[in-house]
Symmetry: C2
Subunit: 413 residues, 2 copies
């Protein structure tokens, strides 16, 4: 189908989807989950085509693993849908209500966005995840997945659409752009007449391309150059486990730590212990001059290292004279994602919490907690690093807008 | 100064501005107000240059009036600043707070956006208004006003900056881009490394240009193709005053009505009265075939007329069979700004409130109430017609973001 037809259908169907009851939405999510499991063989067969093409194109092993679907992974996709069905419906919530001296009654009510566009890479599970969250929040969704997963995505979308039809719901609630031509993707980003918001999910390169080309409002997600600052008043018994966790528990994620900032008054005591811990976890240390005096294994950090999201077993180290220098360093190099201080000093903690300009600022905890599930949202479409609309982990509420409903008795100005 | 220098300074100063106390901000706003009045002569002299250039360039009379500053208007600008000083400070509000089973304490706290860019036309009062609101919400602001008002804007900005300096506040909290080259404006819209959000204020053409060219998140404001739907169960004694008010009280504003939608069961009774009222107010009626049978003075409405923001003494009329047809018509042609139903039927009103996809949906009231002051926000930077971030009237709160502050005791994942 032509892109323009897809977008027009999405705009049309959004008025139906936003009127569905909570029960209708939940029943549909459960039906889609069941059908994905029932049709697992056809999905696996489609996925095999993508996988073979990936192998013969010399696709990287990690990417091939992300691409692969088996029964277990399809069951996990279905389970994700069921979990979303179990979450409270955000739509219809009265966020605020007030009356005016002229008697007008004003209610601020949570409503769906309308049509959400999702642009993502070769992870076919996103096809089901993105549908579940956008649909539960009352939206129609238009998906543009990576071309490497196109056969899987087409089959998953077809199965989900069939399940919606069986529930008596217009299947256009979920549409997939099947044309893998890059020009079509760029055109999609310009469809601001039909698409209310665009959420890119994937690498920094993908996200930058969307930010640069889109005329649709974008929610930027993802990139995380996260810092741990070990203050002079830090409890070292907390600092070491936090850094090991934030750096090494999962290296390829946006909430992993990429940089240590350390107060000069504690560096003599702390850095040797830090170096030992990093060596034990095979983490390369790239330190400034001061820090390298205390760590034999550290190599020299370049300016570029401080601004880099390594997503690897590498960490940069910066020594500072006080908390303000730490805050300045972090605000200069971070991506406004997540940063932490380790300190027992409440005043220093307060200053850090207030002045570090990030979505999530931590005292004495790992940055790895920046996550919709860890925050108790029950779901996550991504982590926003912009300030407009939503910041930090985005769950169902962050996929909604609001409207004002005003009731009068003939009031005029 | 070079654009890049301005943007870098703004990014740097935002960390200072977001830490100002409420008292520091209010004192500064009052000092700026006083200095604008004290320096009125120098501002009027600068404005005279703009005005003379406008006259010799054959500028339209209405635009010349918007450009003109006199003592009274400067006093009004100052009064606006004082009103903003009197408003509650939105910054620091704890929007939400919760703890997790692992003991993490999470607070969602209202914080400034950071740097706000405002692009506007030849209305020099916006220079002061935009500063007042963005500053009170803890932001640095970079202003790009219309070239026709450049001398006025430079002088106003200089006076305001001087007042800030006298208060011990970094004057870079307000910066004006003095270069009137259009290429500089386009480059400004691409400064997403430094500017957190861009708000265009002005004509649909200006706003579209910003939406198309900006890589910075934009809040779209302004265009309003507002409808009044007169239902079969309408109280005509309410309907006529509401339409007269919404159409004629001020024709050039975005919350003025541009279109009447009328139920066929009431048209025989209602349309002759409507025609009489419109004739008395010199409003041209452009009606569909059904409606013209009942109104001799009406001309034929084209498809284009239904989608048009006339901003003039013109109204389109569409006849419908039921409320759902009215809702479909409105959702097809509106700009998601403000639409109203006139009805005594509660169920019909509820259906309209829920299904019309606009920022503000009214029952038995004029669309002219869509306004930050009328809503009781005490201020207004514009009316958002997008769904991301803010919708409808935007006051101080809508110029803020939030951050999560998380306090732990050494938690790791």
């Amino acid at each position: 189908m032509e892109l323009i037809e897809i977008c027009k259908k999405a705009k049309k169907v959004k008025y139906e989807i936003q009127c569905l009851t909570t029960k209708e939405k939940n029943d549909a999510l459960l039906a889609v989950a069941d059908k994905l499991v029932a049709e697992a063989d056809s999905i696996i067969a489609a996925n095999a085509k993508d996988y073979e093409r990936g192998v013969s194109n010399g696709m990287h092993k990690g990417l091939l693993d992300r691409l692969l679907l088996d029964k277990k992974r399809i069951e996990a996709m279905a389970e994700g849908l069921r979990q979303v069905a179990a979450l409270p419906d955000p739509i219809g919530e009265v966020i605020d209500s007030f009356s005016r001296p002229n008697g007008l009654q004003i209610k601020k009510v949570r409503v769906p966005m309308g049509v959400i566009g999702i642009i993502y890479e070769a992870r076919p599970n996103v096809t089901a995840d993105a549908f579940a969250l956008t649909f539960k929040a009352g939206n129609a969704v238009v998906l543009k997945g990576g071309s490497d997963a196109i056969d899987s995505n087409i089959q998953i979308a077809n199965v989900m659409r069939a399940a919606l039809s069986e529930c008596g719901i217009n299947p256009d609630a979920i549409q997939l752009i099947e044309d893998t031509d890059r020009a079509v993707t760029t055109k999609f980003m310009q469809m601001n007449e039909y698409i209310d918001v665009l959420i890119p999910r994937g690498s920094a390169r993908l996200i930058n391309a969307v930010v640069e080309n889109s005329t649709i409002p974008v929610i930027e997600t993802g990139t995380g150059n996260c810092h741990i600052y070990v203050d002079k008043d830090a409890d070292i018994d907390k600092a070491i486990p936090i850094i090991i966790n934030a750096k090494t528990q999962r290296i390829g994620v946006c909430n992993a730590a990429e940089s240590l900032v350390v107060h000069e008054d504690i560096k003599d005591k702390f850095l040797p212990l830090f170096e030992k811990a990093m060596n034990e976890h095979n983490v390369e240390i790239r330190g400034d001059e001061e820090s390298r005096k205390l760590m034999n294994s550290a190599v020299s950090a370049t300016e570029e290292d401080f601004g880099k999201e390594f997503l690897d077993y590498i960490i940069s180290v910066k020594t500072v004279k006080n908390v303000d220098e730490a805050i300045d360093h972090i605000n200069k190099y971070n991506t406004s994602h997540s940063d932490a201080i380790v300190t027992e000093n409440e005043e220093t903690a307060k200053r850090f919490l207030e002045r570090v300009d990030s979505a999530c600022v931590y005292v004495n905890a790992s940055t790895r907690f920046t996550d919709g599930f860890e925050f108790g949202f029950g779901a996550e479409i991504g982590i926003s690093t912009q300030k407009l609309h939503a910041r930090g982990p985005m769950g169902l509420k962050e996929l909604t807008s609001y409207k004002y409903q005003i009731v009068g008795e003939g009031q005029i100005r």
